[in-house]
């Protein structure tokens, strides 16, 4: 292995005047080349080191979400790391424990819900981007049937499923989205079976949220149907013809700002959240199946979301059993990431 999991401690050097390397540590829950969740974080870190050449990056992969994570963080701090990115949801409590012991080290956790004086959190709201991807899917489908594969019906994901359907419906009133839950974040064979089942049922655009959507996108390409990716834009290579677009996290600029502010002591502990208006995430480059008109529709919708003229969850909104979930005149916002337990009208599927 090229990357060391447990690098040996390096003895503390006396500080040279200026030109000093600053160390930043990052923990990954999986492999950094998974074309998914972990690669998106890794690419952001690399972009950060390019923007800040005096930063030296220490990465650890496949770190379990347990006390092992604490030991890896302690080790990185012994090596001199001043900023730590514990990049999985389950590292929150281990990071809080380590943060308490090292008040001079800054911790930045993705999507965490707790703060400490030296631990802040950040995340990108993905449902706006999923709405825009839904526009591409709604325009691309000829059967008016879209498919969505994911592991578990958790609020964050159901909000994305709903936004995807609403985006598609905004350009194609007849469209439906079929939700398939396969009960596993990582099970490539089951993901392939799910896409095959969707294709058999006449669905011609699939998307999904699993740790590494490579199998989804690749199987869709083999079946000759279209796909929308998630997490990382590195997915596009797996579907040269059927690729429409995808929701891609672009953490580089944020990481650069965070590390810079930690180094010049202007960093403060807070919950940073950004949507499509921020530089946290973007739509991945369009594939050949997205024509210029559709691209313009998407760009217009994006501009309206940013300006506030378009609210994706503006009522009246019914769920798929006909119950009104958001009344006329009201609108759902970012709280839906934590509260959505229903599927919007036009989504075919079960949440329990």
């Amino acid at each position: 292995m090229r990357r060391r999991r447990r690098p040996p401690p390096i003895p503390q050097q006396p500080k040279p005047p200026g030109g000093e390397k600053v160390k930043v540590g990052a923990l990954h829950v999986g492999a950094i080349n998974d074309a998914g969740y972990n690669q998106a974080h890794h690419d952001g870190l690399i972009a950060m080191t390019e923007a800040l050449p005096n930063v030296e990056l220490i990465e650890a992969e496949n770190v379990p979400e347990s006390a092992d994570a604490e030991r890896v963080m302690e080790n990185m701090i012994q090596q001199g790391a001043k900023v730590i990115f514990p990049q999985s949801f389950g590292y929150l409590d281990p990071a809080l424990n380590v943060a308490e012991k090292h008040p001079d080290v800054v911790f930045m956790h993705p999507a965490g819900f707790k703060l400490a004086p030296n631990l802040g959190t950040y995340w990108g709201n993905n449902f706006e981007a999923m709405y825009l991807a839904g526009i591409a899917a709604g325009k691309a489908t000829t059967s008016n049937k879209l498919g969505f594969v994911t592991a578990f019906p958790i609020p964050n994901i159901l909000a994305s499923v709903n936004a995807f359907q609403l985006g598609a419906r905004s350009v194609n009133p007849d469209v439906t989205t079929t939700l398939v839950l396969n009960n596993a974040w990582v099970d490539p064979a089951k993901e392939a079976s799910a896409v095959n089942a969707l294709a058999d049922a006449g669905i011609d655009v699939v998307t999904g949220i699993v740790d590494s959507p490579v199998t989804l996108v690749k199987t869709a390409e083999e079946r000759g149907i279209k796909s929308v990716g998630f997490h990382s834009d590195a997915l596009q290579q797996f579907a040269p013809t059927g690729w429409l677009t995808g929701v891609a996290y672009t953490w580089g600029p944020l990481y650069t700002r965070l590390v810079q502010s930690a180094l010049d002591k202007s960093w403060k502990s807070e919950h940073l959240r950004g949507g499509i208006e921020s530089d946290f995430l973007t739509l991945a480059p369009y594939g050949p199946a997205v024509d210029a008109d559709t691209q313009k529709l998407i760009e217009d919708a994006k501009a309206k979301i940013i300006s506030g003229d378009l609210n994706i969850f503006a009522g009246p909104i019914l769920d798929n059993t006909g119950v009104e979930k958001i009344a006329a005149g009201q609108a759902g916002g970012i709280e839906l990431l934590d509260t959505t337990d229903w599927l919007v009208e036009g989504v075919i599927g079960q949440t329990q």
Binding site: A31, V180, V186, P188, K190, A194, A197, D200, G349
Partner: protein, 297 residues
């Protein structure tokens, strides 16, 4: 759905067929999950490096076989506890395959292609279901018939079964019992390696850590389900694959059933058959296996 059953059941079937041979020789390999994963990762790595999925297949089979030989050394030569050795090796396989596969996560390969058989593939319905697959799927049912013949109609099969029934009697009859158990584990490993390779090289075309997600353990259960009979293993594996594909198909067609319930179907089926088989002497396990559980050698 039938296509889905074939696709989802094939990997499990290869592993189960291998395990039938192994258990017929009086050894139980609870580490089958690790053996499959070794096949999946080594097969993928070799295919990526050489660009040739056939070399990948050969490498996958050999990796599985070599991995099983480690178990053979432990339990046959050293007389270690089979259950503990099998489980420990299984987890070793999970870790080792992740280490080997590490550089290949998210990489693109030209895997095994589907090969529609000429003429046959054009038959309506039947052609689509049966004759548009990759070679591993075509080969698996003839392989089951072949193993059935080997086990029950050849001298080698008789020797293997004798060793599995009673090692002492087999030894007294002049059989080289340890050598035969090594052979059985080697063959079982070859097949489990191919099963793993079907997942990474043919069905998904990607390598992912622990991508077998318990299929190795299901294969062990299927051997009991199949009452140590290769042809019944075919039935069991495709029932399992069918149930798995069926629940995804139901969801894809919008059936109003809880996906969590649907996910239990393959396992409920397995349990049901186990109840049904209980107490029928025709389906009894090789007598030698009992010593594994009773702690005698």
């Amino acid at each position: 759905m039938l296509v889905g059953a074939l696709q989802a059941g094939t990997a499990v079937l290869y592993a189960a067929l291998g395990e039938v041979i192994v258990e017929r020789a009086g050894v139980i390999n609870l580490g089958l999950e690790g053996t499959m994963l070794m096949g999946a990762s080594v097969g993928f790595a070799v295919t990526y490096q050489t660009g040739n999925p056939w070399l990948g297949l050969i490498a996958a089979a050999l990796a599985g076989a070599l991995f099983n030989l480690v178990l053979a050394f432990l339990v046959v030569t050293r007389g270690a506890n089979q259950l503990a050795s099998g489980l420990a090796l299984g987890f070793l396989g999970i870790g080792l395959s992740a280490l080997i596969g590490r550089p290949y996560v998210g990489q693109l390969i030209e895997g095994l292609r589907n090969v529609p058989l000429p003429i046959l593939a054009d038959i309506p319905f039947v052609g689509e279901v049966l004759f548009q697959h990759d070679v591993l799927i075509y080969a698996v049912i003839p392989l089951a018939f072949f193993l059935q013949w080997v086990l029950f109609s050849t001298r080698w099969g008789l020797s293997i079964r004798t060793v599995g029934e009673d090692k002492t009697v087999a030894y007294a009859a002049g059989l080289r019992t340890q050598w035969l158990q090594y052979q059985a584990l080697f063959v079982g490993g070859l097949l489990a390696g191919l099963g793993g390779a079907h997942l990474s090289l043919a069905f998904t075309g990607v390598w992912g850590e622990q991508m077998t997600s318990g299929r190795g353990f299901i294969a062990v259960a299927l051997v009991i389900f199949a009452a140590w009979n290769p042809l019944r293993a075919v039935l069991g594996a495709f029932l399992f694959g069918g149930a798995l594909a069926f629940q995804l198909q139901l969801q894809a067609r919008g059936a109003p059933v809880s996906p969590f319930f649907l996910d239990m179907i393959p396992y409920l089926l397995t349990l049901g058959v186990l109840i049904f088989l209980r107490g029928n002497r025709k389906f009894a396990m090789p007598a030698g296996l009992k010593t594994v559980f009773e702690g005698m050698r």
